[in-house]
């Protein structure tokens, strides 16, 4: 019961924040609602007993990426952006597509419900039980033992992107 209340609270907050991100005219207000959405998502992780993901979501997205977002927004001249015509003339197309996506997702959920528990792909989601070994250790073991090669490849990709950005951004190194 408590879990359900918390789920609906965080999920509602995330959806509300997401809607406000795209409807606010002021970029800083959008950023504030994006932070709300990210925090609500972090809360959802917590209801799933994934405390490590909860903290990493806040440290990386809220404390790292969103700070840089706000940093860049503040450097941009907002007064000019406010008076420009917005790209929202295709409201109807966007709305129609959103409803199509919503219908698709609802259908998927309904289908999953009808298949029942035994089919692993459509099994109803359940909260993992808390184990003696924490979430942090489990994720660490998975990342650095089972999936160490993909993990390292992803980090090299990020490093290449960083170096590329510096090379393109700086005329003389």
């Amino acid at each position: 019961m408590t879990n359900e209340i918390l789920f609906y609270f965080f999920a509602g907050l995330a959806v509300l924040g997401g809607v406000l991100v795209v409807t606010m005219r002021n970029a800083v207000h959008s950023a504030v609602f994006l932070i709300t959405t990210l925090l609500a998502t972090a809360g959802l992780y917590l209801t799933l007993n994934a405390e490590f993901l909860f903290v990493v979501q806040i440290i990386l997205y809220v404390g790292g990426i969103m700070v840089l977002f706000v940093f860049v927004i503040m450097l941009v001249n907002l007064d000019v952006a406010l008076h420009q015509v917005q790209f929202n003339r295709q409201t109807w197309v966007a709305g129609l597509l959103s409803f199509a996506l919503l219908a698709e997702l609802l259908a998927a959920v309904a289908l999953a419900r009808s298949y029942g528990e035994e089919n692993w792909l459509f099994a109803a989601p359940h909260v993992p039980t808390v184990t003696a070994e924490g979430n942090t250790e489990q994720i660490g073991r998975l990342l650095f033992q089972n999936y160490v090669i993909p993990f390292e490849i992803a980090s090299i990709l990020l490093l290449v992107a960083l170096v590329g950005a510096v090379v393109m951004g700086k005329k003389r190194i």
Partner: protein
């Protein structure tokens, strides 16, 4: 549903009470840290400091609080009202929320999370938004410059601080604040002696993270008036101040827990040093005695009366510290004395902050960035690798812990030396090319 709510309430009633106590008491404590700061500053500059309100200015924090609350609350006309309102609240929220995971004593903690340290790190990284949004919402150039500086500074130093924490975590092998202290009790060494480089990096980085001098560029008075809080006044300004001081106490608590043995007394495992158990009551008794000694020297009966009240408060603190020394009260002793040692260590750490503030001149912004990116971050990465090597050498290869830590420490120090040399060379070539 009501039953479930009742069940939750009865289960977490002490956590709720603890939280309320912290929210109620902390502003007062922050006020007294401000008084401490002004007194220490006055002492270092051969002045007296606040002396008017109460004996030796002991009631100054209350006077300041009343003044700030009844001051006019100004919101600039072109400010973004909603965000102007939100920003200081966000700052205080982040500062206070961290206290949930801080273990003051063996029994004195709100929540023993198995991700406690990361939780504090995450929450304090949210505090940046209070500064950045406040600076932007003020719609003033000084505020915006302060906010930009602050976000750049905090993002840069967060890396070094995080890496310094990792060097301690590698040794303790847990993220729970309580287990970190218990690891130090079990191993018999405070982590500062095992990972000294990590501690020094954390000390420097935490000064930058809390925007304190010599790294107080976001609010540099000589350049930016007051930085991000230029347009703030009255109670909102007080909230920013409260956030700054609660951040100081939080970084002090993290350093105490991670590196300085948390609630453990010095030489906690050595029975020959058990006489140190008499230190807490004796120290408080000494403070009480000093207060009593100063009573006749105060001018006027009201000042004498207030001094007597402060002597009484000190005595009230002394009594439980002494009573728990009685045999059979070992569990109580661990809690009460633990809180004493913890607070003493945090205050020592805060004192180092004040000391640094009145000793070093402010850095230039490019120097600040250089210290962060060219020295602290590379050194912290080398330090993490060194500590990890030491742990593997000790646990897997069976080396003597002192030898393995000593060897990796020497390598880390050589790397630090090389970094400094490289920095000097870089500066000299820059000077040559400029000339």
């Amino acid at each position: 549903m009501i039953q479930e709510a009742y069940f939750l309430l009865s289960k977490y009633i002490w956590q709720i009470v603890d939280g309320l106590v912290i929210v109620a008491i902390f502003p007062l404590l922050a006020g007294y840290v401000v008084l401490l700061e002004r007194k220490v500053m006055a002492d270092m500059q051969a002045r007296l400091g606040p002396m008017r309100v109460g004996p030796h200015g002991l009631l100054q924090p209350l006077a300041d609080a009343v003044k700030l609350m009844i001051k006019e609350d100004i919101i600039p006309e072109s400010a973004d009202r909603a965000i102007f309102w939100l920003a200081p609240v966000l700052s205080v929220f982040a500062g206070m929320l961290s206290f949930a995971a801080i273990p003051v004593g063996p029994g004195f903690l709100i929540a023993d999370m198995n991700i406690g340290l990361l939780f504090i790190f995450a929450v304090s990284s949210m505090g940046i938004f209070g500064i950045v949004l406040g600076g932007w919402a003020s719609n003033s150039h000084y505020s915006l410059m302060g906010a930009l500086r602050s976000s750049a500074q905090l993002v840069s130093y967060e890396v070094a601080v995080g890496m310094a924490m990792v060097s301690g975590l590698l040794l303790a092998g847990t993220l729970s604040m309580k287990d970190i202290v218990e690891y130090q009790a079990h191993s018999g060494f405070w982590l500062v002696f095992v990972a000294p480089v990590g501690f020094v990096i954390y000390l420097i980085g935490s000064v930058a993270e809390t925007n304190r001098a010599p790294f107080d560029l976001p609010e540099a008075e000589s350049e930016l008036v007051a930085g991000y809080m230029t347009e703030y006044s009255g109670f909102r300004w007080a909230l920013y101040f409260l956030a700054e001081y609660s951040n100081m106490v939080v970084v002090g608590s993290v350093a105490t827990t991670l590196f300085l043995g948390g609630w453990l007394r010095p030489f906690a495992g050595t029975h020959a040093m058990d006489f140190l158990d008499f230190a807490p009551p004796l120290v408080m008794l000494g403070v009480t005695g000093y207060c009593v000694y100063r009573i006749p020297k105060q001018t006027g009966w009201d000042q004498k009366f207030i001094m007597a009240i402060f002597a009484g408060i000190c005595f009230v603190v002394t009594v439980p510290l002494a009573v728990v020394l009685a045999p059979g009260l070992a569990a109580w002793k661990a809690g009460v004395h633990g809180a004493f040692w913890f607070i003493a260590k945090v205050m020592g750490y805060v004192y180092v902050f004040l000391w640094a503030r009145f000793t070093f001149p402010r850095y230039r912004f490019d120097q600040l960035m250089q210290v962060g990116w060219h020295y602290l971050i590379p050194l912290s990465i080398v330090n993490v690798m060194g500590v990890a090597t030491a742990v593997v050498l000790h646990r897997e290869a069976g080396w003597n812990p002192v030898v393995s830590i000593g060897v990796t420490l020497v390598v880390t120090m050589l790397a630090a030396l090389w970094l400094v040399r490289a920095g000097e060379r870089r500066e000299q070539t820059a000077l040559k090319s400029a000339a």
